[in-house]
Symmetry: C2
Subunit: 525 residues, 2 copies
């Protein structure tokens, strides 16, 4: 087993200046895990950011080919951690080994995907307007424009994906890909996993000759996060977590003397609309499909389908009964940490007491650290007037909304807050209603799913993992998929610049062979 | 002469509910112009936004081909206003007729450029990942993604470009192009010009069968602007103006229950670095070039070159003397309104009293409404320690920064705040210094200009009119050029969607013939 250091990783140096410590905790047993991790001091955060600032320009100017090599090396180094990483992550999160192994695969595939993207190079959206010295009344200058990295990015590790959305996850991978140094604050519920991945990244940086400071890892809680967001050297922030946490970071960043963009992926209840044709003859399949998506990972996915909307009738009642049976029959699961589990217990107790909410089914007893699924139901009439019923319950809790007719179902779409996803299950005879629901739903979500379920976010070019507030703090970007790196880049134009000063991507003859727009015409000559 | 109504334009209806009025004022004479314009009430703003909300989905779904027709029709209708528009704009701004005529050309060219962009259609950044039903361990779903309009946009007319950055200017044109309805608040210093252009837009909307509410115009000041930004139906804001005004709107938008993006183009001093080789044998040309850019439009351009940095020596002294001569010899000019002129007077008086600032030259007497140019100088040593010397003085005021050597010049770049532009004038022997200055400058600006001047912002594909704060509130976007419409759009992904539900841009066979990435490979088959 690799010995854990319990220190900050400030570029290639370790540092343990503070007196406060934190520990990983086994969420299943409540047992404190060793070693203790030093909480970063203000000075340590400051040094990490300053190191990042010092190398930002150099790193941003490096060729995408070189950054691609760095990203691939990170994936290799994470894989090289072998069983030690898997064991520690299982111990700190109680997620099953098979899930952690899968997540490691996703994390490394993601790093290699961004490597491919920046090696290919067209992501910089190069645009060239050639000079027209003879244009009348005024000559047109030569102007060339492309995206460059914003500068140091502050990344917050997320609790629910200790690898794929944490230290070496999508935010770090996409920021490094875009040419931005990263200072990451680990999530305090998996400090050991964070340190192992952080060391792999730094090993890769040293191995590939990256400038020292291109990546740092600090351990800590809310206060350390605040120092990071408020540091004038940080130029953007990536976060995945609760609405409360994300909004607090967004507010802090907006109030800085120099406000900075925050991409916070926050709350979402991911409504599923079951149309009558989808149920006809398929009640069991729908109930099983929905319940499986709901219970997956103890309901701790951003795309967990927390709301199911259907039209009252025999099929509907049968579906509700079958979903309730599934949930009742499922074993309780260990949640990611005690805080999340206590919060879940509190929220389902509260919801169960709501006058307009009925409990359709509930798993067997949640003991400490363990959570069971629960199926609530309410009427569309109530849902339409009480916005609190839309609040996310992070965990395996469903709220089934019973509509009396199609009009009520359409009205339900109309009151929805912003969501990461919206799902339409439709079958024969549903074309017209499906089209109408889609027309309203598409304005409220980042991704519309037909006859599938929202969990299982594909990491690919066309993925949109984002959506109108409160799903995220900026619906114009995604945190999953190739275009996630656009969050960390800004356009720069060069006017009349000598060839030797221009980045390769903008030079005559297109030496990088990328897709560019020359006088507004796409090509790669 | 077209009779002005003095009312709000709420979609195709006019409305005059309020009791407060405002007037245009001739900035040269201080004479109040007729008629009175009703200031919008809260209810009128509310109705305008609600109309925009009602049609947002329909407008966003319309083909780019149809929106292109609408944009071109707006340009035609603005041109059809003929001399009435020119006369009114000259009366309200005191800008010369030739400038207003030129600006009308720029405004209409801009509308037609966005028409071309959305008619061609590739701007939506379509990405398609085809299904792989046999992929193991899990099948890959079909996912398709493109950009769609954000929803209603609030646009603030700017005072300094009564056509090109006002009611029918770049923000409105790009938002309509992206499929977003616009509610525009006119700038109170040119209400008549605003009404004429607003009516042209509405005439175009009616003529092209656009849904009623796709454009509204409200008249008023700060309070009306606040209602607009705080209305929950507004999904983004475009603004060009002062740092104070832009920051106030940004803060307001960030504090909403649902925060929205604000693109505010604010202050910039657009530093110019004169390297020794550029001066050698060309002192007069540099002095004339700089002074012309400085004095252009009475210094009221966002890209006005307010700071000139050079290295002390005979050539430098001669250049300063020559710039001072130019400025002393120039006639005073009428500023856009009395408020701007009073502010300019106050700021130059203040700067002239600064201990470390010397007055090198000053035009003949600024009387009320009229402004003269002024050339201040200071040392790099002072500039490096006193950030107040970087503050924008909106008008024809230059601050010349005298460096003792190259190291000081590099240090000056290092303390600069975010800028729209930075300019490097270089000649023989300047390669090394030019490269070093560029290396630092590029991190602080949106556009780097070599051997030219920042004024005269080309409207083209490669233009970047934006930059790090405080130049704008979001350096990731531009307010000029084809990609300005990206400010108003967000990606949506469709997973497993039937062909009939997908937007044309994402259907099999690529019926729109646009550039798309299919399985990450660019093409337009």
């Amino acid at each position: 087993m690799i010995a854990l250091l319990g220190s900050q990783l400030i570029g290639s140096r370790t540092s343990r200046e503070g007196e406060d410590v934190l520990h990983g905790v086994d969420p299943a047993t409540g047992k404190v895990l060793q070693p203790a991790f030093n909480v970063a001091t203000h000075d340590e955060v400051d040094r990490a950011v300053k190191k990042a600032e010092d190398v930002a320009a150099q790193f941003s100017r490096m060729s995408g080919v070189i950054r691609a090599r760095f990203l691939r090396r990170i994936a290799d180094e994470i894989e090289a951690l072998g069983a030690d990483l898997i064991e520690r992550a299982v111990a700190e999160t109680s997620l099953p080994e098979v899930r952690i192994t899968g997540e490691r695969g996703r994390t490394c595939a993601q790093l290699r995907m961004f490597a491919d993207e920046v090696e290919e190079g067209s992501w910089v959206d190069a645009r060239i307007d050639l000079a027209q010295p003879d244009r009348s009344p005024l000559p047109k200058p030569d102007i060339r424009r492309m995206l460059v990295g914003l500068g140091p990015v502050g990344v917050f590790g997320a609790s629910n994906f200790p690898l794929a959305f944490s230290v070496g996850g999508g935010d770090t991978a996409s920021a490094l890909a875009a040419g931005c140094p990263v200072v990451c604050k680990s999530h305090p519920s998996h400090p050991g996993t964070s340190e192992l991945v952080g060391r792999a990244i730094i090993k890769a940086a040293v191995g590939e000759g990256m400038p020292d400071g291109v990546f740092s890892l600090v351990q800590g809680g809310v206060e350390v996060g605040e120092w990071l967001v408020q540091h004038r050297g940080i130029k953007a922030v990536g976060f995945t977590g609760s609405l409360r946490g994300g909004r607090a970071l967004y507010d802090m960043a907006s109030r800085r003397a120099e406000p900075i963009p925050v991409f916070a992926e926050m709350g979402s209840v991911n409504p599923v609309f079951v149309l009558p044709g989808a149920l006809a003859g398929h009640v069991d399949a729908v109930a099983t499909g929905y319940a499986t998506s709901l219970m997956m990972g103890v309901g701790q996915f951003c795309t967990n389908p927390g709301i199911l909307v259907g039209i009252a009738g025999d099929d509907f009642d049968q579906m509700v009964g079958s979903i309730a049976d599934h949930v009742r029959g499922a074993d309780p699961g260990v949640m990611l940490n005690r805080g999340i589990c206590d919060n879940y217990s509190m929220l389902i107790t509260e919801r169960g007491r709501h006058d307009a909410v009925k409990i359709e089914g509930m798993g067997n007893g949640s003991s400490s650290g363990l959570a069971s699924g629960v199926v609530f139901s309410t009427s569309a009439a109530e849902f339409l007037v009480d916005q609190s019923l839309q609040a996310e319950v992070f965990g395996p809790a469903a709220l089934i909304v019973r509509c009396l007719n199609q009009e009520e179902m359409l009205a339900v779409v109309g009151v929805l807050e912003g969501q990461l996803t919206g799902t339409i299950l439709m079958g024969e005879g549903d074309d017209d209603l499906g089209r109408q629901i889609h027309g309203r739903l598409v304005n409220r979500v980042g991704r519309v799913i037909f006859n599938g379920y929202p969990t299982g976010v594909e990491v690919c070019d066309a993925m949109q993992h984002g959506g109108p507030y409160p799903a995220t703090s900026d619906s114009r970007f995604t945190s999953v998929g190739r275009s996630a790196l656009l969050r960390w880049a800004r356009p720069v134009a060069w006017q009349g610049a000598p060839q030797g000063i221009l980045p390769e991507e903008l030079r005559d003859g297109n030496p990088r062979g990328i897709w560019r727009r020359v006088d507004s015409v796409m090509g790669r000559e």
